[in-house]
Structures are given as structure tokens and as C-alpha cells.
Symmetry: D2
Subunit: 297 residues, 4 copies
Amino acid sequence: MKIGFIGLGRMGTGMAGSLLNAQYDVIVYNRSPQKLAPLVARGAKAAPSIAEASRAEIVITMLADDAAVESAVLGDEGVLRHLPTHAIHISSSTISVGLAEKLTGAHANASQRFVAAPVFGRPDVAAVGRLFVVAAGEKRAVEAASPIFDAIGQKTFVVSDTPKLASLVKLSGNFLIASMIESLGEAIALIAKGGVDREQYVEILTSTLFSAPVYKTYGSLLASEKFAPAGFAAPLGAKDIRLLLTAAEELRVPLPLASLLRDRFLSLFAHGGDALDWSAIGGLAARDAGLARHDEK
Amino acid sequence: MKIGFIGLGRMGTGMAGSLLNAQYDVIVYNRSPQKLAPLVARGAKAAPSIAEASRAEIVITMLADDAAVESAVLGDEGVLRHLPTHAIHISSSTISVGLAEKLTGAHANASQRFVAAPVFGRPDVAAVGRLFVVAAGEKRAVEAASPIFDAIGQKTFVVSDTPKLASLVKLSGNFLIASMIESLGEAIALIAKGGVDREQYVEILTSTLFSAPVYKTYGSLLASEKFAPAGFAAPLGAKDIRLLLTAAEELRVPLPLASLLRDRFLSLFAHGGDALDWSAIGGLAARDAGLARHDEK
Amino acid sequence: MKIGFIGLGRMGTGMAGSLLNAQYDVIVYNRSPQKLAPLVARGAKAAPSIAEASRAEIVITMLADDAAVESAVLGDEGVLRHLPTHAIHISSSTISVGLAEKLTGAHANASQRFVAAPVFGRPDVAAVGRLFVVAAGEKRAVEAASPIFDAIGQKTFVVSDTPKLASLVKLSGNFLIASMIESLGEAIALIAKGGVDREQYVEILTSTLFSAPVYKTYGSLLASEKFAPAGFAAPLGAKDIRLLLTAAEELRVPLPLASLLRDRFLSLFAHGGDALDWSAIGGLAARDAGLARHDEK
Amino acid sequence: MKIGFIGLGRMGTGMAGSLLNAQYDVIVYNRSPQKLAPLVARGAKAAPSIAEASRAEIVITMLADDAAVESAVLGDEGVLRHLPTHAIHISSSTISVGLAEKLTGAHANASQRFVAAPVFGRPDVAAVGRLFVVAAGEKRAVEAASPIFDAIGQKTFVVSDTPKLASLVKLSGNFLIASMIESLGEAIALIAKGGVDREQYVEILTSTLFSAPVYKTYGSLLASEKFAPAGFAAPLGAKDIRLLLTAAEELRVPLPLASLLRDRFLSLFAHGGDALDWSAIGGLAARDAGLARHDEK
């Protein structure tokens, strides 16, 4: 089966590599063509345009944000125009609920099929085909896409036949991580000002109640206040919280904790933190408590 | 070594049992004497009064709240008056930072020693001696108490030579759990109103990023909205958040998320939720979103 | 001087009437033509289309929201296309900062002039020409528009030569009113649950520290919980808070109180409050406190 | 009629002076005796002790906080012990609801009468007898105290026969002022970062919708960021919000805006703002938005 793959950031490169490992015939496209070479070396075919990559049974997009997806899919020479009838577009980007809905309608009008399948996992996990896939779409389209999901991930969760709900689940996952960062940030501000060692504190937490990897990763960042270089840049985190709040507004769901996170990001950016990791919002509770940063002492 | 043990709730009973398993000579006291029998059957000696239980090398208190500890320790015929010189009082209750400070001073004045050693873990964990112990106190007193900690717990973290800091760490741990409940509650309100199945959603979370047992326990409670009977009663959770906020006020640390939790508890109680599990605060986001409870549909 | 006036809601009708009182030659347009008659009876000329009303030295738009303004101004047969060169468009609607910026650019490109001049005051105030006008725009355009402002208002404040800043000031004014509603709502929930009479409480406030008319108006609504019929409908209030938050996001200004208001509106709508007055958000604190509404007792 | 007056701060001095103006026989006491002279010069008698001042038909206390009132009234040689049977204690201090309740019981046990009568107004208003009095207590005691209220204030509101409710109303009034400060602070942060002049902005607000004196007073402080010297010191404001939150906790009323204010005060104190006016919390929104203070530019 021939698969088009559009978007070769760190996540996309890992995912496309997994498809090659699973012996798929993959044609890859990226706006900056220098990202193509490593995959071509592993057997992929390079597409000179989105149009070329879209002439496939399945095309997967893994792009940075709504604007990039909208341009790649709905643009003049985009996926929508060149994807064959009945072929499937799998969107793995973290996009807004509204755009997921728009793509669903556009593909249906073009007699194509659309599956939203955002993923959980970082680039190293993508590289070894161990992502978690959250899929939603018309039942038979999801079934047809299943072997793809098996190639890129360790487990697939089918949450609905309405694609936009996969976006909602994905956004809520990032909200939960950001919430954990905020709560850790407040706790660390408190115990540090009280006189407890930050590093030991995080070790206590992560070796007892909070043993999930996500606590270890972010607890360590917060204890050391090492927010650069960014693993997941703060503006991307802020964007996901904004998309979550927009979805919540549509659904009329008040989310006070998400509102707090939104304000944290704004304060971070107001103080020049655009280039930091999103976990830097967890350092703001300490700032509000009048604690100097480690590296300012 | 002779150990006095005061307070035989579910946690205390488990801990005293662990001491018996480790061959300690344990003399137990509880206000309601019917709790004594099971431990006496396992070899403990029953104390008719706190005074009697306090004539030991080490006395451990495991009581419900500040008032109970204050009465048992500082009351007319309390621990302070009957504990021998140089003997050690280990307080394992979750108490306020202020009370920990007060006990530190009172025992020092009486030439006794004080170690704060609150624990993480639920009654079933206490019963098998697998708690986590967070200890703080004068170095040699903590060393002397170490074998006790090994008997009741799987690991001990010594955080400071100032006892009150162990209280601060313990309170912050409960704050982190309550924060996780709030964040899960908001996420579930959102995806449920969107149309995603709650149970499946929690399964996705806990089999991917949020694999810590604490997410499984509370995720399941929140998905099913089974808040009764209470594992940890809401008023106890509210009390811990209040103690945390009081400690934070002393230290001048603003904690917006803790303030949100405080308001959640008040709203829960205003609607008659006093008898529910503390995870019931996680159901309030759904109520604010206009979702009926499962069992009201 | 010939003035086009587009948008004859209650506010617009009052403003156009003031212009007639000041002997201006006014040509009025409204989507629903039945609103035209009363003004025509007072001497206005009825325009059959926006195009017709736009052929004037000054055209004023007073419409419900961004969408209505965008359509009327930037639509195919809109103001932009028919307003003469050098003529002035005064936008008195409460619009987003973004749209104000967009209109500024569009009119400049068309060699027309744009002044943003939102107003403070309710319909009865508009009817007697006693509004407050907050104007911003290129200096000479604002000067040229001054006689118009004098006709509709009792005072004009020129805040900037950048039109969008007038929108920002107007939005912030509505935020301040909504904040006052929230604070009154919380205070009333507290004293009412304590046992103080609501009506007397509001009388105390408004005859002492809080004598501003805005406290009297909303205090009375909140004390009586009479939220219908709506004087200013909740969805319009919610929209203004949303526009404020969007502007604040652009400027990177965290506004925790505005975030709280946003959540209040969502909760109101989640419980079916769409048709109520925006002051109904002030009733939510009482609901959270478990107080039944007056009329439910 | 002989009136004892205890507490000659700026407010107390003004109130005692009003009583002298009304030809009452006033015996005054203050911990620092140098405050006595000006009133003695106007005809008051100086009491060498609280006991001496308490031998009167009515004794009024106007002290800084709960601790001062508790000590003066319930201390060894305090009001309670020396006030004659059936005499009345009027407490005009801003005290906690809990202390008001405690005093009610203590005076009843001593066959004395207790009226809580906190006041609204600043020292200059007290000096000219134009305060607003919020009174609560047993009906006949309040009636007996009425001429006193007429002497010190321009209007009296009797809110209940339960004294503590007067405290609740007074605390809620300070909460409303602090809320207004917060909302103004957020609005000013927004418009200032957008580029609008702060002083002009406040002028617009206070000459239009927000004409109450309280907006003028605090708007001007916020626009100029002149938070020293303190008119009403931040720690006193923080104390009142804390008392309000404690009362709300007893009554189970969530107050999210009050929680926000609490956090603002903590952040202010964490950054060394103890000596500032309480309106300085209104400057924190600008700080969070990354704006430098005027005087730092």
C-alpha cells in the first residue's frame, strides 16, 4: 500500500521511519527539503510537492499547528484537491476541534475519508514505533487505517466515529500535563521557601505516590529550573491550552484550572519566556513567592 | 524496646501491627477501647490511659487531626507529662506546621525529643508495612527512630532537622493529589460533554502518560462518580488544604490552585457532600458544565 | 453636513435622533426596515441600502457585533466601497481590537478616514444625547467628527490617534462592570447565607461607599435576582469579555478576574441562562454556596 | 450620660471628638497616653486604665484588630470585668465574626449588653461625625445606643439582632473595595500596555460610569502608582480578607474573587510590600504583564 507522509519534524520523521520499518511504500514531503534525505536513505520516495504526496491510498499529515494543516490540506495545491476518491487522510497533528470538524466536512464533500489520529509520546518514542494513538472517524475508515496505527504505535484507542473528538482527547491530555506542572510548581515554591531541598522533594514524590514517568520528567525540570533548551516550546503549550479553552467555550464547560494555565503562559511570555520549555510556567509560583531563581542567586 | 502507640484508626492499626510483626514490645491506646482487642490478640499490651502508653522509650501518635493530637499530647494527662526524659515522640499524624512547631518546643522544654514522621499510603499499605515515611527532627533522634520507620515502611526520607518541614511535605503531597483530582475532573467534564465515554477516557489516560497508581485510583472514582463510601473523607481533605494554605500564608507563598481546591470543598459541603470521598470535588466541574450525574439520568 | 447612520437598534435610534435634534441631515439604514419609520417621521431620510447611506461626508455604524460590522463595512456592497474619498467612518459599535485595526487599514487603503468612537451609556441616555464618547483616530479626523460627538454625547474623551485603543478602553469598561457584578454577587451570597437581608444590604452599600449609579442598577438586580428580561443580554456580555481576553492575549496581559468572569458566563450558559441579563452571573456565587434562588423557595 | 472610649487611633480620635461635640461626658483611654491630650483639651477626661474607662453607661472600643480587642475586653483588667451590669459595650473595630460571637456570649454571661457597630469612612470623615454605622445587637440595646450613632455618623443601618452580622457586613464592604482595586488594576495593566495614558483612563472612568468617590480615590492611587505612605496599610487589608474567608468557610460559601485577593496580598508581602497602602495589590497585574513601574522607568 502506498502512503503519503507530509510533515517531517522530529515526530513526523519518527513516524515515517516506523512505516518504512513496517515495509510500507512511503512517499514523503516536507516544506524544507533537507529533512527528506535521511528517510530517502531508508527507502522512502521524496515528493516534490504536497500534490505528489497526496496521490496515495492513505496520506498522513503531521504538522505544527492549525495554520500549517489548513494550508497543506485546504490550500490551492493541497491534499484535498489531489487525494483520490475514497482514499483516507489521517491527521496526526494536534489541531483544534473546529479544524477537525472542518476537515471532516471537506473530505466528505470530496468523497474522501478522514480520520483524526493524534498521538501521545515524544520524538524518541515515535522513532521506535511506540506511540499511543487516539483515533476517531467513520468505522470502516478507522479499520482500514489500523495497520498504519499498529506500525507507528504500541496501542490504539478508538474513541468515536466523530473525528473531532480525538482532537478533544489529545488537547485534554496536554491540559493534564500542564496542570501537573502547575501543581508541582506551586508545591515546590512552598516547600523550597520553607527550607526543603527541591531535588530531594521531587525524588520523594516520584518514588512514592507520583511514579508516572511524566512526573519524573517534569519534576526534574522544575527542581533544577532548567527550562532551556525547550523540549516542548512554551508557545506550543500555550496554543494547546488556547485550543482547549476554545473547545470548552463551544461546549460551555468552565475550566478554572485551564484559565489559570492560560494566565501563566501570558505572564511567562510577558517576561520574555517565549523560547523556554512549557514547564517554565511551573516556575512562576516561585517567582510570585519572591524566590530568586537558582541561577540568579 | 518498648513502644507506646496512640491512635488505632485504620492507619494506626496497620502500623502498630507492623511493629508487632517486627517483634517490638508495643503498648497500645485508643479512645474507643474496642479497637484494642485485635492487636492484643497479636501480642500487644493494652494501655488503660495515654499516660500508661507514654511510659516508653518511643511513643507514636497517629490521630485524626490537630485537636486530637493537641489533646493527647499537651492535655492534662497527656504524652508530654508522662514521656520519660530523652524519650522520643514520633508524630505520624498529618498535622499543621504550626502544631509541629509547638510540639517541637514543648518536648524540648521537657527534655524530650520530637520527630515528625507523617506517612504516605492507604490503610492496606499500612497493614503490610509498606508505607513511605517522611521524617524530620534532630539528627540523633531520627537515627534512633530509624528501625521503627523500617518496620512500618518500605522507605524513609529524612527531609530536615526541623520537624515542621515533614508536615509541610506531607501536606503538599495531599495538595498534589487533590490537584490531580481537580484536573481530571475538568478534563472529564469536557470530554464527557463532548461525547467521549468517561470510562474509556480514563483507561486511555492511565495506560499511557498517567500510569501512576494514584491516577488509576482516582480516575476510576471520577469516571464512575462513585464517591461513597468515602476512602478518605472530604472534610479531611478540606482540612489538609486549609492547613496547607495556612502554612503558605505564614511563608507568603500564593497558591492559586490550592485556593481553587479550597473553594471546591466549600461548594461540595454547601451542597451536602460532607460524607463523600474527597474525590467528589472532581465532580464539580461536570456540575458547573450542566452535566447531570450518572445516577441522576 | 450629510450623515449616514447604519444600525437602528435601541442605541442607534437614540443616537440618530440626537443628530436630528442637532439639525443634521441624516440618512438612516437598518436591515429590518420597520425601524426606520420613527426617525423618518422626525425628519430623517430612509436609505434603501448600505451603499445609499454611505454616500455621505460622515457615516456612523452602530451594530451588534464584529460580524455585523464586518459585513456592513467590508461586504460586497458595504460602506468601504461606497464611502467617498476623505469621508469619515465613525464606528460606535463595541468591536474587537483586531477588527478596529483591520478597519483602520482598509479605510486608509481606500483613502478614507476611520475613527473608532464607542460610547458608554444605556438606551435612555442615548435618547437624550447624554452619552460619553471615547474616540480614537487620526487627529484631524477626530476634530472633524467632534461636532457629531457633541450632538450625541455629554462629553468626549480622545484617547489616542490609534483607533483600536478606543475599543480597548470600551471593552475594559464592560469588564469593570462585570467585575463589580461578580464582587457584589459574592458579597451577597455571603451575607445572605449569614442571615442579612439582601435588599437592605444593597441599600447600605449604595447609600455609603458605593454610590455610583452602576452599583445601584446592578445591586438592585442582584438583590432581587430579577435577571429577566435582559437589559444587556448575557451573550453580549460574554462576547465582550471574550474580546477583552483576546486583546489581553495579544498584549500578553494575564487577567485572572477576567478569566473568572469568562467561566461564570460559561456556567450560566451551561445551565440555560442565555436569555438572561448579564448580571445573572452575579447569582452564581449564591448557587455555589447552596442557596436556593428567591423564586425557588 | 457618661461614655468610655477606648482606642484613640485616627478613627477613634475623630469619633471621640464627635461625642464631645455632642456634649457627652467622655472618658478616654489609649495605650500610648500621648494621644489623650488633644481630647482632654477639648473637654474629655483621661482614664489611667481600661478599668477606669469601663465604669460608664456605654463603653466604645475602636482598636486595630482582634488581638487588641480581645486583650482590652477579655483581659484581666479589661472591659468585661469592670463594665457595670446592664451597661453597653459598643465595638466599632473591624473584628472577626468569631470574636463578635465570643463577645456576645461573654457580655451576656456578665449581664451586660453588646452591640457590634463597625463604621464605614476614613479618618477625615470620622473627624466631622459623618461616618456610616452598621449596627447589630439586641433591639433595646441598639435603641439605647442610637444617640451615640447619631453623634458619630450621618446614618445608621441596623442589620440584625445578632451582633456578628454587623462584622460580616463590614468585612464584605472591605472585600468590595479590594475587588474594585483588583479590577481597576487589571484594567489599567491592559490599557497601559496597549498604550493608553493611565491618568486619562482613570479620569474617563470616574467621570462616566464609575463616579463613586471610592473609584476616584483608588483610581488615582493606581494611575500614579503612589502606594506610600499607606492610607490603609496592606497588612490590615490582608487581615480583613482573611477574616472574610474564615467567615465564608464557616458558612460554606466559596468566594473565588476573595481567594484571588488573598493571593495578591501574599505576593505583595513576598516582594516586600508590607509598608504599602493596600491598593498596591492593584499594581500586581501590571507586574505580571511585564510592565515596569512608573518610577522604575
